[in-house]
């Protein structure tokens, strides 16, 4: 279980996170929605230990990761898989090498076992036969799928998705979401996703949290969020120009 307690973060006096409190249950798919530039990716970077909060805690199975450094933090990160917004694929490596990379670096598996697992994951994301290509030779949708394969190849307990469908056409958005649902059902990882693909995310989320002005304004199952009485939530999910959220 992941618990975020009263998390605050400012950059040069600008308060980005102003007391985030959030629980993510083991095995659930939690999707964090909110406006662009609203602090979703900053929150995600705190989960990953890439940023440290000004105050507050993030507990992963009871361990406060905001105080960890070095090997102790690495031990928590070894349980993570991360799909970055742009994929963050290593552009000097082929698709296969990108997927095999975490196994080569972090496990004692033999070459044959690594090849087997990497090809299996490439198969699960529908990229059999594409392993020899470089990231700049494949489409945006394929890059996202390679990133998902790389994040899942070590069979992590917790997977973070940072806007995994941004910039894709609606069919690819649905294809990636379907892929995430299928993989989640097979592997039962805990998923924390940052996205603003509305209404598509309501099909895959088990719970949704709305981040606005540095705080979580509402959390609940997709149906509850869709029927929320909060004018902020309603304006955001319907994309209306008029309301408490200023369209700047």
């Amino acid at each position: 279980m992941i618990r975020v307690e009263n998390l605050h973060k400012s950059f040069d006096g600008q308060r980005v996170l102003q007391g985030i409190t959030l629980d993510v249950a083991t095995g659930e798919v939690m999707i964090i929605i909110g406006r662009s530039g609203g602090g979703k990716s900053v929150l995600l970077k705190h989960f990953l230990g890439l940023l440290r909060p000004d105050s507050g805690r993030i507990l992963v199975d009871g361990v406060d990761i905001t105080r960890l450094r070095g090997k102790k933090l690495d031990r928590i990160r070894a349980r993570y898989g991360v799909v970055f917004q742009g994929g963050a694929l290593f552009d000097s490596m082929t698709v296969f090498d990108n997927v095999a990379f975490p196994l080569r670096e972090k496990t004692p598996l033999s070459h044959a076992e690594i090849a087997l697992r990497a090809n299996e994951k490439l198969g699960q994301v529908g990229l059999i036969g594409m392993g020899h290509k470089y990231p700049d030779e494949i489409s945006g949708g394929m890059k996202k799928r390679v990133a998902i394969a790389r994040a899942l190849v070590t069979e992590p307990e917790i997977v973070f998705f940072d806007e995994p469908t941004t910039g894709l056409d609606p069919i690819l958005v649905n294809a990636i979401h379907r892929l995430i649902i299928d993989l989640h059902q097979k592997l039962r990882f805990t998923a924390v996703m940052v996205s603003h693909e509305i209404p598509e995310i309501f099909q895959i989320a088990q719970r949704v949290a709305m981040l606005h002005e540095g705080v979580i304004v509402e959390t609940g199952p997709p149906e509850a969020i869709q029927q929320s009485r909060s004018p902020v939530v309603q304006q955001f999910i319907h994309g209306e120009l008029d309301g408490p959220i200023r369209a700047t």
């Binding site: 990953l48 230990g49 990160r77 993570y80 963050a88």
Partner: protein, 270 residues
């Protein structure tokens, strides 16, 4: 009680703002220098933390060393030829052309070889290194390494610094040898100096301390260039403009530090 800024005369407020700005600039500079120094310190510590990334080291030696060979040979040859030509013309005015060999060799081994080789490698490999690491930073590849619990310092920076320490002295040695033969081509083959005089006098005047002076310089330039270029790439700004600015800064700072450090080493080494 101190009066508020609004109640102060305009000249006093301007003075306070200037002092505040100077203070901020000083603090920022000290902080930046501290980060810069700590970066190298961390890299040096990570060299001794196993497992060492041998494959990445070989790739970096190939990139910094082998792929700089052609530019080193070319610039070394022409530097030696220019030294041969100008040295011969100058020395012949005072009837000392016999000392062309030592003049070319000492200029190259003690000074021009390490400095020019380092400047050439900075332009060819250093700038590319900053751009590569900078692009990895802005495309989140460095973050990806971090969250995979693979320390970027071990994976990216240590192989670069160690490759610099290995490649720079070797490239400098090649630059020196090619330059000496460039001087030989012009002085002996073109202008008619005796081959025995050129190499014989060189043997008499060039000592091991001269070679070691050039070696220590090239070794330290290897650290300086890889340190500056890796640091600038690692701490690059946002977007393509950030990478472009980091690359320019890396080349300019490396070049300036090479010249400053060369003077310092030249005045300290025997």
């Amino acid at each position: 009680m101190m009066p508020g800024r609004a109640m102060m005369p305009a000249t006093m407020t301007t003075g306070l703002l200037a002092i505040e700005g100077l203070g901020r600039l000083t603090l920022d500079t000290v902080e930046a220098l501290g980060r810069f120094g700590l970066f190298l310190g961390h890299a040096l510590v990570w060299i001794f933390v196993p497992p060492f990334k041998w494959k990445q080291l070989l790739q970096r030696i190939h990139f910094i060393g082998f792929r700089s060979l052609s530019i080193i040979v070319l610039t070394g040859a022409f530097t030696g030829m220019v030294l041969g030509l100008q040295g011969f013309l100058t020395l012949s005015r005072v009837g000392s052309e016999a000392f062309l060999g030592p003049a070319v060799a000492l200029s190259l081994i003690r000074e021009l070889g390490p400095v020019l080789a380092a400047l050439m490698v900075t332009g060819r490999a250093g700038s590319a290194l900053t751009a590569e690491i900078g692009i990895m930073r802005i495309s989140e590849q460095i973050d990806a390494l971090t969250v995979m619990a693979l320390h970027p310092m071990r994976y990216l920076i240590v192989p670069v610094v160690v490759a610099g320490v290995i490649a720079f002295p070797l490239l400098t040695a090649i630059f020196d040898v090619v330059g000496i033969f460039g001087g030989y081509l012009v002085g002996v083959r073109l202008l008619g100096l005796s081959e025995g005089t050129y190499f014989g006098e060189m043997q008499s005047f060039v000592h091991m301390s001269d070679i070691m002076s050039g070696f220590w310089k090239s070794l330290s330039f290897g650290v300086i260039v890889t340190w500056v270029c890796a640091y600038k790439g690692y701490h690059t700004g946002h977007g393509a403009e950030g990478v472009s600015r980091a690359t320019t800064q890396a080349v300019v700072l490396s070049s300036v530090l090479i010249l400053v450090w060369d003077y310092f080493m030249g005045s300290v080494l025997p």
